[in-house]
């Protein structure tokens, strides 16, 4: 493309600079980050699907609609500043480690039928 003519007519209309001067994007120019939550249908939870860069929540929602709602079913979206997300440190995962052992919180921890059957059996004898 020595003559600076592009095969793309759109590009020819841009009148590209041929100066070769460096172009530098400043820090913060792509704005801050908002997390996006997608609700697939009424009654469903909003689920985290990704994030958008936006200058404020209003535009974050406008952007999220097309980046995360242009395909498949979607009835609503939430956006929230990533800075406002509070989460556990990943190394604190062990706080949850014994969950599955605490069967007293779980229906599976109670064997009702066994007891009934034992009673019925004992009554017959």
């Amino acid at each position: 493309m020595e003559n600076n003519q592009s095969l793309d007519p759109r590009v020819n209309r841009l009148q590209l600079s041929i100066s070769g001067d460096p172009v530098v994007v400043r820090d913060g120019e792509n704005w801050n980050v908002f997390e996006v939550f997608h609700q697939e249908k009424r009654g469903a939870h909003h689920e985290h699907v990704g994030c958008v860069h936006a200058p404020n929540a209003q535009l974050a929602l406008v952007f999220a609609k097309e980046q995360f709602g242009r395909r498949k079913k979607c009835v609503n979206l939430w956006v929230v500043r990533s800075a406002d997300i509070l989460a556990f440190n990943t190394e604190d995962e062990d706080m949850f480690a014994n969950n599955l052992e605490k069967t007293y919180r779980d229906a599976s921890g109670f064997k009702v039928m066994e007891k009934i059957n034992r009673y019925k059996k004992s009554g017959k004898e």
């Binding site: 172009v23 913060g28 704005w31 801050n32 997390e35 990533s82 989460a87």
Partner: protein, 332 residues
């Protein structure tokens, strides 16, 4: 859309330094055990600095490939024939930008800002897939890109989606879903030309002939000439070797080209039934290097267009930016 042919660090730099591996043997062991168990690594986890560095590199190049990859096909947006093709093409190019967005976000979770990545693209410090430095000369080129380059990208991305880094895998899951639309619309447009008028067929054959070598380049140099990156394989950063992916691509797609009575410009191309592997003439790897280093037909234009977009969009971004605000990385 596009992965493949990533440029990892030069072999001499790729040798992992001892202190990087052994700075905290206990943490490293736990990290490697997690990966070996098939668990994902998440942004807040401890990770070796080399893992972080190579992942940023990989995801960043992938992201750049998406937004630069929007340009060759964008060449035909205003000229796409008829409503259906036109809308599909715009939607597809839009998806590439969307993929770039997802991938830059994934890379940002590793600690490099989007702005820094864009700057490295514009300055030439960071690379993108070589294949986008070739021109889309005719409408048939768009169908070859949409069908075959996207197919090649899918082979690569499906492999990478099984990698170890959570945010990258999640981005790829969504990307692969959209790629299936790209491949289908590309294949459809490709078949339309292959089964159309003699002029349409000739146009398609010509495009195939021109794109075949860049496609063979797509997966990168053969394994024998590249230093083995066993660590990257163990860490599930690199999921399959270049030759494995190239072979998988040839195995699936060459028959789909041949069944339409089209030819490929390599008389040596054949499947060896005893090994199950495809054989082909060695593509010109010197040319591959030359194009990576800026010597391709479109390198200059691609970067100039990106520079135009960044320069002319600056006032919009600047008007709404909040100087001094602390910028947060994506949460996940």
């Amino acid at each position: 859309m596009y992965g493949g042919g990533y440029i990892f660090d030069e072999p001499n730099k790729r040798q992992l330094k001892d202190e990087q591996l052994h700075d905290d043997p206990e943490k490293l062991a736990a990290f490697e055990a997690r990966i070996a168990r098939g668990e994902k690594i998440e942004p807040g986890d401890w990770m070796p600095s080399e893992y972080r560095r190579q992942l940023i590199r990989l995801i960043e190049q992938h992201a750049h490939s998406e937004i630069i990859g929007a340009l060759p096909e964008g060449t035909w947006i205003t000229r796409a024939p008829g409503f259906k093709r036109k809308l599909a093409l715009i939607a597809k190019v839009q998806d590439e930008i969307g993929h770039g967005q997802l991938l830059y976000n994934a890379a940002e979770t590793l600690g490099k800002s989007r702005e820094a990545m864009i700057n490295d693209l514009l300055s030439g410090k960071s690379k993108y897939s070589n294949v986008f430095n070739y021109p889309a000369e005719t409408w048939a080129d768009v169908t070859v890109i949409g069908f075959l380059i996207d197919a090649a990208a899918i082979v690569n991305q499906v492999a990478n989606a099984k990698g170890s880094y959570g945010p990258y895998c999640r981005a790829l899951e969504r990307i692969c879903y959209e790629e299936s639309f790209h491949l289908k619309q590309g294949h459809d447009a490709f078949i339309e030309l292959a089964t159309g008028t003699p002029a349409q067929r000739a146009m398609l054959q010509d495009a195939l002939n021109r794109w075949w070598q860049p496609i063979m380049h797509f997966f990168g140099p053969p394994d024998k000439s590249s230093v083995h990156s066993e660590k990257l394989m163990q860490w599930k950063v690199k999921m399959a070797s270049n030759d494995e992916m190239r072979n998988q691509f040839l195995d699936t797609y060459v028959p789909k080209i041949w069944e339409l009575g089209l030819s490929l410009p390599d008389p040596a191309l054949r499947k060896n039934d005893s090994t199950g592997k495809w054989e082909f003439s060695d593509p010109d790897w010197e040319l591959f290097k030359k194009v990576i280093n800026g010597g391709g037909p479109c390198n200059k234009e691609r970067l100039n267009v990106r520079k135009w977009a960044e320069e002319h969009g600056r006032w919009v971004r600047k008007a709404l930016m909040h100087p001094g605000e602390k910028i947060t990385a994506p949460a996940a």
